[in-house]
Amino acid sequence: MIDLSCSFGKLTFKNPIVMASGTFGFGQEYGAIYDINRLGGISGKGLTLQPKAGNEGIRVFETPSGLLNSVGLENPGVEAFLRDECPRWEQMELVRIVNLGGNTVQDYVEGAELIEADAKRRQLAGKPAVDMIELNISCPNVKAGGMAYGIQTETAREVVRKVRAATTLPLVIKLSPNAEDIVSMAVMCEQEGADGVSLVNTFSAMKIDIYKRRSVFNNLYAGLSGPAIKPIALRMVHQVSQAVSIPVMGMGGICSATDIIEFIMAGATVTQVGTYNFMNLRAGEDLLGQLEQFMISEKISCLDEIRGIL
């Protein structure tokens, strides 16, 4: 008998497969293709307090084994999400994670307060729709010339502290690999009362159109994801897992069950799958099948047997 379940603080994931923010919408589109309730969890499309139209120009470009994106956090805003998506989310039987971004500390806090208030109402009505907040600190801080909150530990501390104070929901901080020191960032999150960290977000990267003599992207830089980043992401997950005692969600280029196993061996409690959802519209169910096969063939009954063994 194989047990794929993973305890993450007070929450339990059925299995370590969580769909990463920005690659899975709010679940509806993929839910029409396969039963997403078989997954461990979903992190919804990144939200901001106000709706965002996203970036102009080209938004995606392939690189060898990687994908550059510059969507610019197009989203309907927190209120529209709570109103329009939560009625569907309350029906879902997997860990439901709201991904929250912001461009000012106030935005983050107000967004978290709205989610918290809605969760309390739903709790009383016995219809919860959100199990966790994942805080995206890779957004540009408009008050600091656009440098992302997640670069310097002390800049991020203020956001984490204030959002922590604004919500009783389990709170996971999504770390940027562009951080000056990702280990100190994770340690800070633990100090400030986060229930976990997820890593890594995309790497800041670039593509130049040599004929037009300009960046492919209107925003100059874009975020790199996909198998190209996996070895670096894995190293970061390993380092962070060594340094903190809160659980870690590992991600970066996962395209197979063996990739998931690597992240778990590096110390991740669960893993997130992003870019692979574009490569294979049935990524979730395929990875789950592969993972079960792997466990059987390697005679592993429970992921705790191999978690953090390095």
Partner: protein, 231 residues
């Protein structure tokens, strides 16, 4: 997984790919195609060129790594198709014109087989292709323009429905021509944007429209011409 029946170069860099199987699809819809494992990462969106009971066909131009890989497919090779995707063409009303620029002619063959009375305008910058096939499928006129501006041949006030597919500058010109017309015709443009998922989840194929941003993959790829904000 399905299998290649044939993959013929009909003109330099332009291929007609036939795939075995029973496939669904309305005119103007597309499939996401991949004939490789993980690299390149993304599948390629190709519009339906034709569907018969035992096959689906695509007409594509080799522009990058993905289409170059497709061009090397041989009979019996395996590939994965996801679809049909997108809204497709609404059933045209009244006198209809289909305008295809370059590889933008691809969706109109299947459309013509369902609306044979439509008049067809095919524009090519160099060597024309598939013109005989279009002529056989059409009961009306097939106008061909090589090296010129195909739109110059179309009187927008002579039609009730106009559907255009081609490069962005051509579609932008379609919009301008619509604005200058009497407004008799309902005019649609079929867009070709970079896509990742194809199902409306990733938001990379975003189209700037008058009221809001829309998704080329699920809100489109066919839009009323007046809705799109061309840049």
């Amino acid at each position: 997984m399905t299998e290649v029946i044939s993959n013929i170069e009909v003109s330099p860099g332009v291929f007609r790919l036939a795939v075995a199987g029973q496939f669904a699809g309305r005119m103007g819809q597309f499939y996401m195609i991949r004939a490789w494992d993980n690299y390149p990462l993304l599948s390629r969106p190709l519009s339906i060129f034709d569907i018969t009971p035992e096959r689906i066909e695509f007409l594509y131009l080799v522009v990058g790594e993905g289409t170059a890989l497709l061009s090397r497919l041989k009979k019996g090779d395996k590939l994965t198709l996801e679809g049909p995707m997108g809204n497709g063409f609404t059933a045209p009303e009244g006198k209809t014109a289909f305008i295809g620029g370059g590889i933008g002619i691809a969706p109109f063959y299947y459309a013509l087989r369902q609306v044979p009375a439509a008049e067809v305008y095919l524009g090519f910058s160099r060597e024309p292709y598939m013109v005989e096939e279009f002529r056989e499928a059409a009961s009306g006129q097939v106008h061909v323009n090589v090296g010129g501006v195909i739109l110059d041949d179309v009187d927008f006030d002579a039609y009730d429905t106009i559907i255009a597919c081609g490069p962005h500058p051509m579609l932008h010109a379609v919009q301008r021509k619509q604005q200058a017309s009497s407004g008799r015709a309902k005019v649609y443009v079929s867009l070709e944007n970079r896509m990742a998922c194809g199902i409306g989840a990733c938001l990379v194929c975003s189209v700037k429209c008058k009221d809001k941003r829309k998704k080329a993959c699920t809100d489109g790829p066919v839009f009323p011409a007046e809705e799109v904000v061309f840049e």
